[in-house]
Amino acid sequence: MTTNLHLDRRVARRTVLRGAATAAAAAGTVGLFGASAFATPEKANEMMTKLLGGKTAKEGRVTLTMPQIAENGNTVPLTVSVDSPMTDKDYVKAVHILADGNPEPAVASFGFTPASGKAEVSTRMRMAKTQNILAVAEMSDGSAWMTKTEVKVTIGGCGG
């Protein structure tokens, strides 16, 4: 009798636990979609694959120049340059800039032509917090190249 009771109680405890876990998972999902979800390295990589049409980028040929420490995340200067002769046969088609800690992983995409002469572009971006910035180049021969740099941010630039 005692043994039976003990068993019952154990079953009951397990059921309760399972119920609690499901509830917690549900709450987690709600939290994720309720709040403005930030990009993660996984999301940035997903976005990169999407922008490249399923291709993967190799490290190299792209230089991303940014400050190591950005005091103001509202405006962080950056320059991307790609090693390419920029001729009709061999040129950079596009450069994408991605951030893995901003509300949106995509920052900007630039399209070039052989008439660009030089595959280099400068702009200023917002950074919510310390994170990695990715620069990806798509070449006319179909290859893709990338580089990554970490920028430390003192004051985030997506405040509300």
Binding site: F110, G111, P114, A115
Partner: protein, 106 residues
């Protein structure tokens, strides 16, 4: 009203690669911010910029809210002949800001 500013050399040699610097006065409202009452401020950014030379597109840019207010973009163009650069910035609501600049190649 949004105002665009362009800086590029007025003259260049044939085949020279010149730098063009562009800046537009624009809040680039990201859609992430809230007003004092806590209501989200709707997104309004410039989502596209194009630069054409004598009618042919030489550079285009797709911008997301991660680009700072008053978007600054500098890039390079190889010039083979004299002509006109046409710049266009498209806002989320479809409004287009336009600017032109001349260059003499000789």
């Amino acid at each position: 009203m949004s105002k665009a500013r362009i800086r590029l050399p007025s003259t260049a040699k044939k085949g020279e690669v010149i730098e063009i610097k562009s800046l537009v006065n624009h809040a680039m409202e990201s859609g992430q911010r809230k007003d004092s009452a806590g209501n989200p401020i709707p997104r309004k950014i410039i989502n596209k910029m194009t630069c054409s030379f004598n009618g042919k597109e030489v550079m285009n840019a797709t911008l997301h809210p991660g680009i700072s207010a008053n978007p600054y973009i500098s890039f390079f163009v190889k010039v083979e002949e004299s002509g006109t650069f046409e710049f266009a910035w498209t806002e989320d609501d479809g409004n287009v800001i336009k600017e032109t600049a001349q260059i003499t190649v000789g």
